[in-house]
Subunit: 328 residues, 4 copies
Amino acid sequence: MLKIGILGCGRIGQVHARSIRNLDDARLIAVADAVAPAAEALAAKTGAQVRTSDEIIASHDIDAVVIGTPTDTHYDLIHGAIAAGKAIFCEKPVDMSADRIRDCAKAVGAAGVPFLTGFNRRFDPGFADIEARIREGEIGEVEIVTILSRDPSPPPLSYIRSSGGLFRDMMIHDFDMARFLLAEDPVQVFAVGSALVDPEIGKAGDVDTAAVTLTTASGRICQISNSRRATYGYDQRVEVHGARGLLRAENHLENSVEVATGAGFRRAPAQNFFLERYEAAYLAEMRHFVEAVLSGKSPKPGIEDGLRAQMLADAAAMSLKTGLPVRP
Amino acid sequence: MLKIGILGCGRIGQVHARSIRNLDDARLIAVADAVAPAAEALAAKTGAQVRTSDEIIASHDIDAVVIGTPTDTHYDLIHGAIAAGKAIFCEKPVDMSADRIRDCAKAVGAAGVPFLTGFNRRFDPGFADIEARIREGEIGEVEIVTILSRDPSPPPLSYIRSSGGLFRDMMIHDFDMARFLLAEDPVQVFAVGSALVDPEIGKAGDVDTAAVTLTTASGRICQISNSRRATYGYDQRVEVHGARGLLRAENHLENSVEVATGAGFRRAPAQNFFLERYEAAYLAEMRHFVEAVLSGKSPKPGIEDGLRAQMLADAAAMSLKTGLPVRP
Amino acid sequence: MLKIGILGCGRIGQVHARSIRNLDDARLIAVADAVAPAAEALAAKTGAQVRTSDEIIASHDIDAVVIGTPTDTHYDLIHGAIAAGKAIFCEKPVDMSADRIRDCAKAVGAAGVPFLTGFNRRFDPGFADIEARIREGEIGEVEIVTILSRDPSPPPLSYIRSSGGLFRDMMIHDFDMARFLLAEDPVQVFAVGSALVDPEIGKAGDVDTAAVTLTTASGRICQISNSRRATYGYDQRVEVHGARGLLRAENHLENSVEVATGAGFRRAPAQNFFLERYEAAYLAEMRHFVEAVLSGKSPKPGIEDGLRAQMLADAAAMSLKTGLPVRP
Amino acid sequence: MLKIGILGCGRIGQVHARSIRNLDDARLIAVADAVAPAAEALAAKTGAQVRTSDEIIASHDIDAVVIGTPTDTHYDLIHGAIAAGKAIFCEKPVDMSADRIRDCAKAVGAAGVPFLTGFNRRFDPGFADIEARIREGEIGEVEIVTILSRDPSPPPLSYIRSSGGLFRDMMIHDFDMARFLLAEDPVQVFAVGSALVDPEIGKAGDVDTAAVTLTTASGRICQISNSRRATYGYDQRVEVHGARGLLRAENHLENSVEVATGAGFRRAPAQNFFLERYEAAYLAEMRHFVEAVLSGKSPKPGIEDGLRAQMLADAAAMSLKTGLPVRP
């Protein structure tokens, strides 16, 4: 039984609490949030106690912490948790600065504590199945990876201004997915982007429509495209072209109904909300973390994966700025 | 090279002319129609001569006749063509009366002339593929066949009054398909039906919505349903459940485009017109006829198949009338 | 907050316990099972207490009971729960005998206690969406309903011998679905069936492959087919043809991945297990029950629906036996 | 009636002959080929005469020429046909050199003869439907175009050595498609590529796996990827993401059959051969050419479109060589 404390009771903290509730070998002991009513509400719903973050990190009845607080607090919480010997499940991005992630990675490595970076999409049943089939050689050598991600609608401008930009906030998931599926680290990043959805996003110095090309040393290619808008739901598709075949994961629609009329055959829109779309992934992610920690294995993706994705995002931002391909 | 004469230059005669034009080993020599301008128009388009039906049947430069005239003329034309030793491609139904078909079948058998009954759907690439897979044992023993056919809209009432009714006019194709896929002749027919599309059809003594259950001696089951109306195009689906798997053929849509909006993911309607939907089937049907005749083999489906389908239609009509299962 | 006791801690009792755990306005207070370790295991997992069935029914801290015990115990438990004024969620079938269900229905009506018959499929997001669209008139008047259900593999012969036969054990769900979608009670039932999957099932007096045709007073038609075997997973499809369009619900596949090779494009098999396939339906069913009871409304489907489905199953069994259409 | 001569009786000349045979307002008068038996065979099949190219260009009974000869002969034939006042249907690429195409374009413009560049894919029913919907504003402003093309297998090395390379030989179609769908000319081209399918292709100085990013002045983005190999057939997909929705065209499968077994649900491979895949497109292309010429309109795509696509291919080749984005 893994005893867990949740730091941060916002949307993502609540998701993880629900996952823990559905696992037989994990128990949520305590929750913390800078906003007291948020912690109290989650505690009431789950039967967990309310403690401060420091108290949770120091608690002897807690084995692992789930860090879902604002990004700029991660660094200190990670170091605190390392010092207390806790297993760590940290939401992405680990930090806005690759240097500071590198610093954390060193400390994690030195202390040998289990660390999972919250790239939940690796645990999506479809994407995980694709990776497993690649690993088993079902389509031979990977040659071209295509990733299409579109959010239903852009976040508020206030969020965009502090998010680090599309590459670090949104495409970061796709960079991790690219590494997951290419099975080889990209050596070159080329990015283009525009503000087509909302000119205000452009004025804020960001783009809302972007495309990136990654290449690896052995010549594999990955194309990623992002848009901050999709009228038909949360669009999340991946495909991998290999020497012996193609693997692709289609969108998750709201239901399996098809309506046929004179206008044609219509199926439901894609599931619109990331918590719904990735519900199974979040549960599988927490299950993996709990099982890894309980069995003494390293959870995956680790902090190194968090660092590598951030480096690709930094390189993409630099490529967009300079108009040139960049080595990450 | 098979030299062909077409009897009847209406819609279906024109289809067969186009098929012949696309075959390298067939040539259309002459066409006939009771309505002179119809024959002249088709002749002008194809370069064929205009002759009378009798002349075509008597022509020494013609090997085979395609009979696409009104049903009540088939009987005499078939006997004439048999007497002249022509190979015969006859549109379905061979005749409205099973007894008269039986009579034709005897004459065909005695003369040994090649005879194909125009059940074009057997030549649809999808349905033909299903039948081939069944024959090769891909899904093991056939257990349940499900056939769903819906026409885009009902024919004129004048046609319905003389058509012999839904079972003989429309479901006849499905009865042949059932025999094709069950690979065993049904021993019981149970039919239900209503006039839901147009009460006038009910007043004319027919139904426009119907369902039939066929069973074979070994216990295989086939369910067929028909409607005279489908807002989303010409609905033509078949599926076969076997001991080791399922085979199904989906509708042919107008194109392969999908439009995604807030309303969901929409593909085109089904091809709306039977000539378009079965264009490939008509070509394959004519190719089969030409190849069979040229190589001295019996084309399939033969006149016996035309008879058996008619017997099932008669049994369904009787079942609807009596409310009881009927032995065909 | 609805306080619930579960009677019967087998597979289905465990499903309902999990649903309750995921609802904010319901709490599982106690569980009972004739087999003590089963009750203890579920209690340990959920934090509920172990009590006897009689104790649960008599408990003042419990508002509602979920009956998931063997069918032959339902009658007494229902009457006990009615006497205690508990809201009742009873698994299907309510009883093997339509007369005894009628008897329960009278008692439920007289006492005015809320009663839900566990036809979980009505709560499947796809099937529920179809029913809602029909009700809102999206496809006009319903004309033909087609229901295809195939189980992955037959249950043990011992179960078949005591199950009441395919129509009462398996197709009962489809009879309820037919009523749900036809929005009109069938007035005629015609059934055919064979033992094609396993001759032992035939020797046990049952069929494993069956097809039923239902007709309503207004002329609507429903075709149902069942098989006890499907190599490709749990096959659960429904479609409704209406005057203005078609609605259909496709199978739920294990994931959304497509693999393309020289053999073609392959997607995953259908979810194989009914608990997985209907997980969302079970949760929605319990949510509906809890919300209905808390807000003083009658849950739906009620005991009358349980009775009507049983009457259709009885009629189908009679039709199979006599070879004739039967009035339910 | 448009009277046509075909120059070049190879594979593509034969395709166009078949298209002409299926059009009521066009007639194939004569065919020419440097290899006499090729011309004779096509003449025999179609009833056309055999003439030399020069004779066809000079023929008074011929209105239009279809140029399907080797690329290096196009330039002279085009100038000859212009001088003779013939309408011209020229296969792509018009020439290997953009300068020489520019030269032809000037001559075509000066003479005012109708000219169609053979980008057949614009006439594919799916792609044409997408372009029409974009034009009608169905998805709002175009933002991201994604084009995935994979050939079933690489051409012989001898062909690759003389083809001008993947960008000029294969991706040229995608460059034209990008222009067709972006409705705006790209201002920047960035290309990456590798020889992953066959190292011999790399030794020959070409790539077999490539990805290109195009951007337009208004910020629209197009991603294209190509592979010379696809085990699952001829992979031809296009999608367009716009402000109000998404349009995509899926592959054409060999038939509409789905086989379900324990391995899942399998559909047929994609049509494997470009003549089969684009059969409808070739017919529509010829129909458009004939109708445009007969009605005095300019066929589209014209020679300017042939030039622009070639310029994008040249820019992509330059980008691959230099590693930098290039202005076309």
